[in-house]
Symmetry: C2
């Protein structure tokens, strides 16, 4: 029988081990607090909320606090050069609407979501929790994932803070 002593060659280098650890980082490790507005809020109110909360993406919810849309700075800027009064347009008119929204859960891998942010050219992804209501799947917003979070992960990695 093979003696149970000494070192065993795992077939992996230090580089591969680090890459594996990096791949195991989850959304939960880096997500931010979400900022939501109600679907009946005006575009003007949404812009003000964006400034007060200092975020680049707002999530839109219905009266049951379920996710119905996403608003980016770009969406709001587009509306602002339109001819309508910003106080009189509800955000539900200009938001990106479910199910055309990229969502993620806390257990998802950060790497996959970083790819989504780049490939789909989006600023922020809502982190959601599934809930069943009236035999339909709905989503509660529990977090926010942006390129700022990914940039922080990059800094942590590069500083050797993830080991």
């Amino acid at each position: 029988a093979r003696p149970r002593v000494g070192y065993f060659y795992t077939g992996k280098t230090g580089l591969q081990l680090l890459t594996e650890r990096m791949k195991k980082l989850t959304v939960h490790d880096y997500q931010s607090i979400p900022v939501v507005v109600n679907e009946s809020a005006s575009v003007y109110d949404a812009i003000v909320t964006m400034f007060l909360e200092d975020v680049g993406t707002l999530f839109v919810v219905d009266h049951n606090s379920h996710l119905v849309g996403v608003l980016s700075r770009k969406d709001l800027l587009r509306a602002s050069i339109g001819k309508q009064e910003l106080e009189s347009i509800p955000v539900s008119i200009i938001m990106t609407r479910m199910p055309n929204i990229t969502i993620c859960e806390q257990e998802d891998f950060l790497l996959e979501m970083a790819k989504e942010l780049i490939d789909k050219q989006i600023d922020g992804i809502p982190v959601v929790k599934k809930v069943e209501e009236d035999e339909q799947i709905r989503y509660e917003v529990v977090g926010r994932l942006t390129k700022t979070n990914i940039t922080r992960a990059f800094v942590d990695l590069t500083n050797g803070e993830i080991t």
Copy 2:
């Protein structure tokens, strides 16, 4: 004398080696193409340029193509909920102005600029080249560094594409 054979212990693990390589990444490795507007352009024109070019940050230059300011989506959005006509306000009124701008050069380390993006809460940094004119230092804009670029570096790192 010490024999010049065999392995020498460098005192570094594979993890430390990768971290060092990551730290050596420069702005030049990941920068994007810059989009500039003239300081006499209107806020309306700047917003339209931002949409046509699909960027989140514009750099403002004078008639000699030297950097004089930076415009973020946030700056333009703030202006858009003001009471003035967007066609009649020049961007020079609302831009962040030199020297209150974070700039970088192509040789700067990506890690340092990632930290700047987070710490100063900015969306984009102009990549510049110094030029001397009338015994004064001016800057030509040669690139654009954003959190999207850092996110791409994160994906490359995590995919083991930087070795």
